[in-house]
Each structure stands twice: as C-alpha cells, then as structure tokens.
C-alpha cells in the first residue's frame, strides 16, 4: 500500500483565543493521491481548521499530520509541504498579492526560487489551464469574482502542487462563477491532481468521489456521496443539508416503493424515473 498523500493521527486543535473549546477533537483522516474528497459540515464544525492543518498553516495542539511522509511539525519541511499542498481561500480579493494578474501567478514560484527563465512558461501554463490567458496583463480588481478565484487556482497551480485544497472557494460566487470553478477543478482532478474541497454547498460536495462529514470537530461520516447522503436525519441533526435531489428522491421513494433513493444528481434522478417508468410500461 503506497504511503497516503495526507494522513492525520488523533489531530486536535485548540485556538488560544477559543476559550479552551477544541476546534478539532482527534481527527483521523487519510487521503491518497488522485482522490477527490469533499469535507462538509455546518459552520463551526472545524472544516477550515482541518484544511489549514494540511499545509501547515496551523499546527496540531495534539496528534500529528503527515503530508507526503513529512510531519507538519518539522519546520524544515514546511516549504516542501506547502509546495505539495496548494490552497485557495474563500474571499477572492484577499488572496491576490500583485497588482497585475500574471505577476500574482508568478508570486508562488518566485518564492520557491524557480529559475527566472522558467517562470514565464510556468505562468503561461497556469493561466492557460484556468482559461485566463487573455487577462494576463490586467489589474485583478477589474476581474469578476469567478475570474479572481480561477486566478487564485492558477497562482496555486503555478507551484505544481500534487494536491489542491479549496477552502469554501465557491461560497462567494454566483452560479456561473461556481460552475466555471467546478469545471476547472474537475479538469485538474482528471489530470491527476488530488482535490480536497471544503464546502457547505451540496452541489460542490456531489462532485467528489468521497465525502467526509465533520461535526463539532469530529469526523461523523466518511464514504461515497451516495452512502453519506442516504442518512438525511442524522445529517440534518448536525446542521448539514443533503443535496436537494436526494431529498427529492426520498420523497418519490415514499410514493413509489422501490424507487432508488440514493440518487444525487438531476440527470441520475431523471434516468431513474425513466428507467422506473420505461421498465414498467
């Protein structure tokens, strides 16, 4: 079994100003290369706190976190860890450093000391991947929120990370922006990047092939979206909504007994209906 990309062991975190209440209570999580994992939970469940341990922005109060075999407590490895795990944050405006799009993308590689002559090609590749090549010379404050988030992804990509953590990256986007961002992320995952999406938007969680549910700092569920979203009651009790479609599927299942209730997307639901009607007709 190859070493997982990310592994946490009894990870606990207490914020100094948090009044002693642990934000994370003993989280054990492993993520293998190439996985697309969604981390969901109500506000205050510890989602973002967990995400910020994965690139050593936060260090555990108790327990350990390993990235690519390196312990995040090992100061000498912090740079390698952050190069391996890129991160995109929630607010599009507050994560852009430079006053020109292409220079912001270059910021990360410049910090890594990527040789000067390699930088232009890398910046062009990153902007190409997220579809922002035309905006290279423009100031960021003239971009839409969706474009700014894609710029943030390009800036993380330019460091050639093995894994990309999206910390509620679609929360402040409109539907068009959300769809574009999810499309970009799906493309990255298909080309081999491990993706960890912290979100409370169910349409984003359904994109993943594995869902981890957090509540009050602990993992309460970990499985495929279909398994996790089958149990609507417990999820609602910890303040997590199921995708609207699984809610609809469950309502139909009450009316038509053998209707599959583990359906998650609009298309899957429509197929199930037609299959159910076709099969009977």
């Amino acid at each position: 079994m190859p070493e997982p990309l990310i592994r946490t062991h009894n990870l606990e975190h207490v914020y100094p100003a948090g009044g002693g209440v642990p934000a994370l209570r003993g989280v054990n999580l492993t993520v293998r290369r190439g996985e697309y994992v969604a981390i969901i939970g109500a506000n205050g469940s510890g989602k973002s706190t967990l995400a910020r341990h994965l690139n050593a922005l936060l260090l555990p109060t108790e327990g350990d976190v390993w990235v690519n075999g390196w312990n995040t407590r090992d100061a000498a490895r912090v740079r390698d860890i952050r190069q391996t795990v890129g991160m995109v944050f929630q607010d599009p405006d507050n994560q852009i450093v430079a006053t020109v799009v292409e220079e912001d993308v270059a910021f990360g590689p410049e910090n890594l000391g990527v040789p000067d002559d390699e930088l232009p090609a890398r910046v062009r590749w990153a902007l190409e991947t997220v579809g922002l090549s035309a905006q290279a010379k423009r100031p960021p404050h003239l971009l839409s929120a969706g474009q700014k988030q894609r710029l943030a992804i390009a800036s993380a990509l330019a460091m050639k990370p093995q894994c990309l953590v999206l910390d509620e990256a679609t929360a402040m986007l409109d539907p068009v922006g959300k769809a574009e961002l999810l499309l970009t992320v799906r493309g990255l995952h298909r080309s081999g990047t491990t993706v960890l999406a912290v979100t409370h938007t169910m349409s984003e969680a359904v994109e993943a092939d594995r869902v981890v549910v957090l509540s009050e700092g602990g993992v309460v569920a970990d499985g495929t979206p279909a398994d996790v979203f089958r149990d609507e009651e417990t999820l609602q009790s910890i303040g997590v909504d199921v995708p609207i479609i699984s809610h609809l599927a469950r309502m139909v299942a009450q009316r038509i007994p053998d209707f599959p209730s583990d359906v998650l997307t609009v298309q899957a639901f429509a197929d199930a209906v037609c299959h159910r009607l076709g099969g009977q007709g």
Binding site: Y15, P16, A17, G18
Partner: protein
C-alpha cells in the same frame, strides 16, 4: 471569528499589515475622508491614525513603514493634486516625509510605557505638564499677555481632563489614548518645526497653530485608535455592556 491574541510578528505579517494600513492612509488622503474641515478653512487630518494603529498592533518597524507610505503619499499628493497653500510647503520631503517616520516609534514607545502606568506616575506627569504650560505662558506672556493666558487656560483644561480620565480609565484604553496623543503631537510638532525651519511661517505663530490644530486632531485620533484597537483585539472595557 477568533483572532489569536499572542500572534508572532513574522516578516510576512509586518509587510502585509504595513501595506494594508498604508493603503488606508493613502485612501483617506485621496478620497478626502481623512480631512475633517475645521475652523477658518483649515482641515484636521486623521491620516496618521493608521500609523499609530499599526505601531500599537505590530510594533515600531510597522509604524515607521506606514509613516513612510503616509509621508511619500502626502508628498506625491502635494505635488500632483495640490488643494491648498499648505501643499506648496509639503512638496519638500523634509516637511512631508521625515516627520512622519517618527509617529509610529513614539506612539509605540508611549503605548509600551503607558501599559505599566500607575497612579503616582499619572500625578507626576500632570505636574510636569502644568510646569511646561507655566513656563510657556511666562515666555509668551512677555510679548502677548492676552494670547498667553488664553492658551494657558486651554492647556490647563486639557491636562485636568486628561488626568481625570487617566485615573478613571482602564489600563489598555488609557495606553491607547496616550499613544494616539503622543503620535499625533509628534506629527504636528515635527511638521510645524520643519515648516518653521524653512521659514514658511514665523516661529512665534507655530505654538498657536500646534494647539489649535494639534489638540483636536489628537482627540480625534485617540477616539478612533481606541475604537479600532479595542474592537480588533476584542478587549472588554468600560461598562462591558451596550448603552441600552
């Protein structure tokens, strides 16, 4: 939203906080929100408040850096987009940039010292101030008795109010008020002295301007500094309750 109180001051933090508060200073100047019209067409500025806040929160280096940005910007604004006669003098970096480098340092020193303030120290300071005002009134009294008495009245009133509130306030807000007062007076005194040095204004007139302009600016700066820092570091003060 919890902010860690004891946060190590890494180089990144120093650069970012300086840049962001520097942006506030630039914005206040550029949008004229930083100018509050005062009597006789003069305007009080609060563009030095971000410098004081930066110094109090992140130390003297950040205070100096924001002071530099504030100074360079006011130089640039005086040259490119002048609005009043004062701007002609502010085209000279010794007047617009040099004094602003010291606001942060003095504000930080006062803030650090004031946190260890004790009642006898307050009374001692009150005594010192009264002495200064007395000497000043005596010297000015030679040439213009009426003005001297008037200014002395203001000065004594100020010291009395300050001493009373110092005895009443808690440690942290008091330290912030003193940091803001010293920071503002540093700016006013050094800028006016530089102006005096270049002979733009007669030396005799400077103390009057210092008090007429400097004191209200100091009051404004301390109100703003306390309101921001106390909210940012979530410090409970005063009645610890809303006014309802």
């Amino acid at each position: 939203m919890t902010t860690e109180t004891a946060v190590p001051s890494t180089p990144v933090r120093k650069i970012v906080v300086s840049g962001v508060l520097g942006a506030v200073a630039i914005f206040l100047g550029w949008s004229h929100l930083g100018f509050i019209p005062w009597i006789a067409g003069a305007a009080l500025t609060i563009m030095h408040v971000p410098v004081i806040i930066g110094a109090v929160l992140e130390g003297p280096w950040v205070g100096t850096a924001i002071g530099l940005i504030f100074g360079l910007f006011s130089l640039l604004q005086a040259v490119i987009a002048p609005t009043g006669p004062v701007d002609v003098w502010f085209q000279n970096p010794v007047i617009s940039v040099l004094p602003r480098l010291f606001i942060g340092v003095f504000a930080w020193l006062t803030y650090k010292a004031a946190r260890r303030i004790s009642v006898p120290w307050i009374l001692f300071m009150a005594g010192v101030n009264v002495g200064i005002i007395a000497a000043f009134t005596f010297s000015l009294g030679q040439s213009n008795a009426a003005a001297a008495l008037f200014l002395a009245g203001i000065g004594l009133g100020g010291v009395a109010a300050l001493t009373y509130s110092a005895l009443k306030m808690e440690r942290e807000p008091l330290a912030l008020v003193l940091a803001a007062l010293v920071g503002t007076l540093t700016n006013t005194v050094l800028v006016l002295s530089a102006i005096g040095l270049f002979g733009h204004l007669p030396w005799a007139g400077l103390p009057a301007i210092a008090i007429a302009n400097g004191l209200p600016e100091a009051v404004l700066a301390s109100i703003l500094t306390v309101a921001v820092v106390v909210a940012w570091k979530q410090i409970e003060t005063g009645t610890r309750k809303s006014s309802l």
